[in-house]
């Protein structure tokens, strides 16, 4: 327990966060690539055909992991937003701002693959169904956080605090959107049974690639997020000594400069 607490504190300081996570980048990327290759080959060529949807259901192996990630990442954005806003943790700011673009990308993937799935299934690329609408609004939330951050580009600390505020508001907002959109469709469309209601996947051969892909996307997220967070820290802390040490190993020059 104590060790865990210490680890947590270490992650909270930019230099040690940078140092520790530097070792994680490569393994995460390799894991992500291996899992993706395995999951997709398994899912696309070996998993059995769906008796209702035929081969088109294979979109599930990218659609659903991306959908899960889009929501999972927003949760992380919200939580690190709270930490950034309340405790002003620099690392939390970095994690938040690093997660947002990846979340936006996964949301976009979800939307696009969903559309590509909708065409063969429903005969239309888009239908204003509750889940799609709320996913679209989730994209707005991501865009909002990114937008407010980039608008204050001359003062990154303030930008991060405001972005954190927006993320927190979004967090409160998320259930409201979810429910209101469900009420809206249930009010207006009566008994429209969503095709994606129960996935009903019971076949392990179908489930396995799905879970593998879910893991792969998580690994990729960790890799990309850490990489972005590191860049973020380097940028915002560029005048600090640890940055120079980390990048150039300039320790010698430093002491020489002091002697002169």
């Amino acid at each position: 327990m104590n060790r865990l607490l210490k680890f947590y504190h270490e992650l909270g300081s930019p230099p040690s966060f940078y140092r520790i996570t530097s070792h994680w980048l490569k393994p995460m990327l390799i894991l992500a690539i291996i899992f993706t290759l395995y999951g997709l080959i398994d899912g696309l060529f070996f998993a059995p055909e769906d008796y209702q949807q035929g081969d088109s259901y294979r979109i599930i192996f990218v659609h659903v992991p991306a959908a899960w990630m889009s929501m999972f990442i927003y949760a992380i954005v919200g939580i690190s937003g709270i930490m950034a806003f309340v405790w002003r943790m620099k690392v939390a700011e970095a994690v938040m701002m690093a997660s947002v673009p990846i979340g936006a990308i996964f949301t976009t993937i979800t939307l696009l693959t969903g559309m590509l799935w909708g065409k063969p299934m429903w005969g239309t690329y888009w239908d204003w169904d509750a889940r799609m609408t709320s996913e679209l609004i989730l994209l707005f939330l991501y865009i909002g956080v990114m937008g407010i951050y980039s608008a204050y580009d001359e003062d990154p600390r303030k930008a991060a605090r405001l972005a954190a505020l927006v993320a927190i508001i979004g967090l409160i907002n998320l259930p409201i959107i979810r429910y209101s959109v469900y009420w809206w469709t249930s009010i207006h469309q009566g008994s429209s049974v969503s095709l994606m209601g129960e996935s009903g996947i019971k076949d392990w051969a179908m489930l396995r690639p799905l879970l593998v892909m879910a893991l792969a996307t998580k690994f990729y997220y960790i890799h990309s997020m850490l990489c972005r967070a590191q860049s973020h820290l380097l940028k915002t802390e560029q005048d600090k000594n640890w940055v120079k040490l980390a990048l150039t190993g300039e320790r010698k020059d430093k002491t020489q400069g002091g002697n002169l």
């Binding site: 997709l40 696309l44 060529f45 055909e49 035929g54 081969d55 088109s56 294979r58 979109i59 990218v62 659609h63 991306a66 673009p101 990846i102 990308i105 976009t108 993937i109 696009l112 693959t113 590509l116 799935w117 065409k119 063969p120 990729y220 990309s224 990489c227 972005r228 590191q230 860049s231 380097l234 940028k235 560029q238 940055v243 120079k244 990048l247 150039t248 300039e250 020059d253 400069g257 002169l260």
Partner: protein, 57 residues
């Protein structure tokens, strides 16, 4: 072999989705790398500049 990629005439949708997935993540990967390299280069040139200045003194 062809049939495997045919996806029971859903090939456009299935491969399109896979394409979207890879394209998006590849774009993400490239932009991450570009950003990281850019900031590192910026800091390195800057520290070289300050070092030169202190050497001149």
């Amino acid at each position: 072999m062809i049939e495997i990629f045919d996806m029971g005439k859903y090939d456009f949708y299935v491969w399109g989705s896979i394409g979207v997935f890879f394209f998006a993540l590849l774009a993400d990967y490239i932009s991450v790398k570009a950003k990281s390299n850019h900031i590192k280069r910026l800091i390195k040139t800057k520290s070289r500049k300050t070092r030169n200045r202190s050497n001149q003194r």
